[in-house]
């Protein structure tokens, strides 16, 4: 049954009428018009729907909205702006990472969380952090370069 649910999304307090079991992805996309998380698999196997909840990357396609109530949700669009980009965003542009870019939320939201936890990750720490994420265009090496560049920028 639909209930009124309150959560903070990209820094703004939002309130929606939705069944708390509805996956967060659909509440973000269809109730709040936040399109950057994408449906990829609905099975937590690819990462295209990734957002951060209280700073931790989660797969919004399998996360019930109830799990985000009262918490801070950050989408890719809330990570930074062209005027004030997050280092990983600046690095992504510098390295010209994405091709189609449909998977980008998984990698960038995970990278941002990783860099917060480990500002100077090693190559294997980066690879481990990205476990389970998919990129069909094969931009993996550019992603690695961008994470290292972002780490260097914040050093």
């Amino acid at each position: 049954m639909a209930e009124r649910l309150s959560l903070t999304v990209d820094g703004k307090a939002r309130s929606v009428e939705a069944d708390p079991k509805t996956p967060l992805l659909y509440v973000l996309r269809d109730e709040l018009d936040l399109d950057s998380p994408h449906f990829g698999c609905g099975l937590a196997q690819c990462g295209a729907c990734t957002v951060q909840v209280d700073g931790k990357p989660v797969r919004s396609c399998v996360t019930p909205t109830s799990a985000a109530v009262g918490k801070h949700v950050t989408t890719l669009a809330g990570l930074g702006t062209p005027q004030k980009p997050h280092p990983i965003q600046a690095a992504y542009i510098e390295e010209q990472v994405p091709q189609c870019g449909y998977c980008i939320s998984g990698w960038m939201m995970t990278a941002a969380a990783l860099l917060k936890e480990k500002p100077k990750p090693t190559d294997s720490e980066i690879r481990d952090a990205f476990k389970g994420l998919k990129c069909r265009c094969g931009t993996h090496l550019a992603i690695l370069r961008a994470v290292k560049r972002a780490a260097a920028m914040t050093a």
Partner: protein, 762 residues
């Protein structure tokens, strides 16, 4: 709508004022698109823009602020064609690239240049734009000459300003206000074959300033900041979300649908025509749940398939439906039968899935007076034709606008999503956004063909291949046409009475080897299900290239081994063409290639066996050679393609930065297909319906480095880079595995289990 250029700074009036000269360009703003429902040519008519490929203003427009728009009849699926076309136009018009924007494929605004097809974006599409931009500059300068009363050859152009030695100046924007008739020499063809040019001679490569530089792609900032609009993000007033329901046993027909079974999902309802079943609802989550809950009674179909483990036995035994001898030199039978050492081997390649990042997603708005498609397919114009026929509407009434989807590498499920959306919109009477679930993407997208390849050779006492016979046998490359011009090319078409019409055909491997006698041939076999099939084949990046060259280039190494020769030297010994030799030599040099027969570079570190392999292949006029170092873990069978060295020659290079990223993507995609990707099925249906059952290469197995040597040939026309570097990757890896382990893998993918089993058997 930032997936497109915006024409916002150029109102209708301004556009009309520029008519006749060069007209316009930037992104079509969302209101223009939204208002554009119906008549494919309505959008151009509204702007006063020509759609006649023989006129200049079908292709280019100059806005009052000096911004130039090129109308390009192919999409950019994320490989950076947009910026390359902008560079080409900017170069010929003496503009900075920032002043050129490209309006990508849109039946309402761009001429049909064939869509994304065979790595022809720059190769063919760019060649036409180059000629047209050169003609535009010529006409503008000619006009300035009249106005400034100075001979044209004394004028110069900088950043879109034409200036005379005495100080007179005119901007392009000023010059286009005076209309003139500008006719082009158009070859009368639409599609990939379209060419158009004027009287102008394009610049010589030595004068290039913009072409050859690496300006950044313009779609990337929006992607990185989460603002880019994909087809999945198109929203129209009153739009419903649609999901289709596919049969559990492929080929089953609909016997009955229990509409009451979804009554509990807010506003969800069934739309049905024949065997096509959709569920539409105002909210996406409701549509998903309803589609999963819908009770459908299916016919008792005979299971159409068998277990995929029996695939290669099936191919071997199947009666061919078409045969073709592609090459046959005289004396090949004698050469193969007599003398020297005789070798033969068979290589196997499974069905593979496009498995795009998201299932195909399209939005259609079907109204009585016209249809608008927000279309992620690579074939913007062709899809409009197929959808028009599916709906029984005149093709002129369908406006098809390219909007990027979740990645595409050929004919994936994007076109099917268009047809699903259009049919559901027709039946529901509302705009519909259709997206499959993961199982629809993996399970029901068109597949790359499965095949076996048999190669035989005779090697002379001098260590040369003197007879060579290469035969492919497999499913046709196109059970559904990659150009979706007919309703049966869509699943929804086949479910609503349009019978599929497979095009039997395969291809031949390419190389520059000069064997004394050779034969190349192929045979195709019928598809496994005559009807809407989850195993229907169509083009997947470098159609048939990876598998054909997995066989041909693995076999070259097998011959080199038999001749006790170094694989690089052995290849070079069979080719005289200087371009091909240069590419092979460049890759070997970059890799620091250590000469010696296969196995000579083997070393061990702990439980890992390390080796380096080589492969080369042209694709059309593009030539690629790749060396690969792999590590094979003895205990687990894990194969890590740790390093690649790629030499790549595609004629003139437009944007080396973008080109390198495209090559990296191709190499990783090729490695993924070689190591991980295999469609599995049981007698009823495809079973590799998610990422757990259709694994692809992930970050843990991504190479440590891909070193790329770009060989720029400004004296040669650009020849395409979107696919060719995929082609030699599987063989380079297989040859490296042999070098590392002494085990020859002839069946793809090279999974851990297979590697482990082969090591144990060795």
């Amino acid at each position: 709508m930032n997936a497109h250029t915006s024409l916002s700074h150029l109102g209708r009036r301004d556009f009309l004022r520029t008519l006749g000269a060069l007209v316009v360009g930037a992104a079509v703003p969302a209101p223009v698109l939204a208002a554009a429902t119906g008549a494919a040519k309505g959008a151009a008519a509204d702007l006063g823009k020509s759609m006649d490929p023989a006129t200049l203003d079908a292709w280019l427009a100059v806005a009052p602020d000096g911004m130039v728009t090129a109308f390009f009849g192919k999409p950019d699926v994320g490989q950076g064609v947009e910026v390359a076309i902008a560079q080409i136009v900017a170069e010929e018009m003496d503009l900075p690239v920032e002043r050129v924007q490209v309006h990508l494929a849109d039946t309402g605004l761009t001429c049909d240049q064939g869509g994304v097809s065979g790595s022809t974006g720059v190769q063919r599409g760019g060649a036409t734009l180059r000629n047209i931009a050169a003609e535009a500059r010529r006409l503008l300068v000619e006009h300035a000459a009249v106005e400034l009363k100075v001979p044209a050859d004394q004028l110069r152009v900088d950043d879109g300003v034409v200036s005379a030695p005495g100080g007179g100046k005119r901007t392009y924007a000023q010059l286009v206000k005076a209309a003139f008739e500008a006719k082009l020499d158009w070859n009368g063809q639409y599609g990939n074959g379209l060419t158009a040019k004027g009287k102008a001679k394009p610049k010589a490569a030595k004068d290039y300033k913009v072409v050859g530089a690496s300006p950044k792609r313009r779609d990337i900032p929006d992607k990185v900041f989460g603002h880019y609009r994909y087809s999945a993000d198109v929203r129209l007033p009153g739009m419903l979300h649609g999901r289709t329901v596919r049969p559990p046993v492929a080929g089953a027909k609909v016997v009955g649908v229990d509409e009451a079974s979804i009554a509990r999902f807010g506003g969800a309802r069934v739309v049905r025509k024949d065997d096509f079943i959709g569920v539409v609802a105002p909210k996406e989550w409701d549509a998903i749940q309803a589609a999963q809950a819908l009770k459908v009674t299916w016919s008792d179909a005979k299971p159409p398939f068998f277990d995929s483990e029996a695939l290669f036995d099936h191919i071997r035994a199947a009666e061919p439906q078409k045969r073709q001898v592609v090459t046959e030199t005289s004396g090949v039978a004698e050469a193969l039968a007599n003398g020297g050492m005789q070798l033969s081997a068979e290589y196997q390649w499974p069905f593979q899935s496009h498995a795009s990042m998201g299932p195909g997603c399209a939005v259609a708005d079907v109204r009585p007076d016209g249809v608008t498609l927000y279309n992620p397919s690579q074939k913007t114009h062709a899809t409009a034709q197929g959808v028009a026929k599916l709906l029984g509407r005149p093709v002129e009434s369908v406006r098809s606008i390219y909007v990027q989807g979740p990645g595409s590498y050929g004919r994936n499920d994007a076109g099917d999503a268009c047809a699903d959306a259009a049919l559901m919109s027709l039946l529901a009477g509302k705009p519909v956004r259709a997206q499959g679930m993961r199982a629809d993407g993996h399970g029901w997208d068109p597949k790359g063909a499965a095949s076996i390849h048999t190669v035989k050779a005779t090697i002379s006492d001098g260590g040369r291949i003197v007879g060579h016979d290469y035969t492919s046998k497999g499913f046709t490359r196109m059970e559904v046409n990659t150009f979706e011009q007919e309703p049966q090319d869509f699943l929804a078409g086949q479910q609503t009475g349009f019978h599929n019409k497979p095009v039997p055909g395969f291809a031949a491997p390419e190389d520059a080897y000069e064997f004394k006698a050779r034969r190349v041939s192929w045979e195709t076999i019928p598809g496994l299900l005559d009807g809407p099939s989850p195993l229907r084949t169509s083009h997947l990046r470098d159609p048939l290239g990876p598998q054909m060259h997995f066989a041909s280039e693995s076999f070259i190494d097998e011959c080199a081994l038999a001749a006790n020769a170094d694989p690089v030297a052995f290849r070079l010994a069979h080719m005289t063409d200087k371009r091909h030799r240069a590419v092979v030599e460049a890759a070997a040099k970059a890799a620091g290639w250590k000469a010696g027969p296969p196995g000579a570079r083997r070393r061990a570190e702990g439980g890992r066996m390390i080796g380096t392999g080589f492969a080369y292949a042209p694709r059309g006029d593009t030539i690629v050679a790749i060396a690969c170092e792999v590590e094979v873990d003895k205990a687990t069978g894990r194969i890590w393609p740790r390093r690649f060295w790629v030499a790549h020659e595609c004629g003139l290079i437009i944007n080396p930065g973008t080109l390198k990223n495209v090559i990296e993507g191709n190499v990783v995609h090729g490695a993924s297909r070689a190591l991980f990707e295999e469609v599995t099925f049981d007698p009823n249906n495809v079973t590799s319906i998610d990422w757990a059952h259709y694994p692809i290469l992930e970050m843990a197995d991504a190479p440590e480095s891909i070193d790329i040597v770009l060989i720029d040939r400004p004296d040669l026309a650009p020849s395409g880079a979107g696919e060719p570097s995929t082609r030699p990757v599987p063989a380079a890896i297989a040859n490296a595995i042999y070098d590392a382990t002494g085990v020859r893998l002839r069946r793809a993918p090279f999974t851990r289990a297979r590697m482990k089993a082969e090591l144990a058997a060795a």
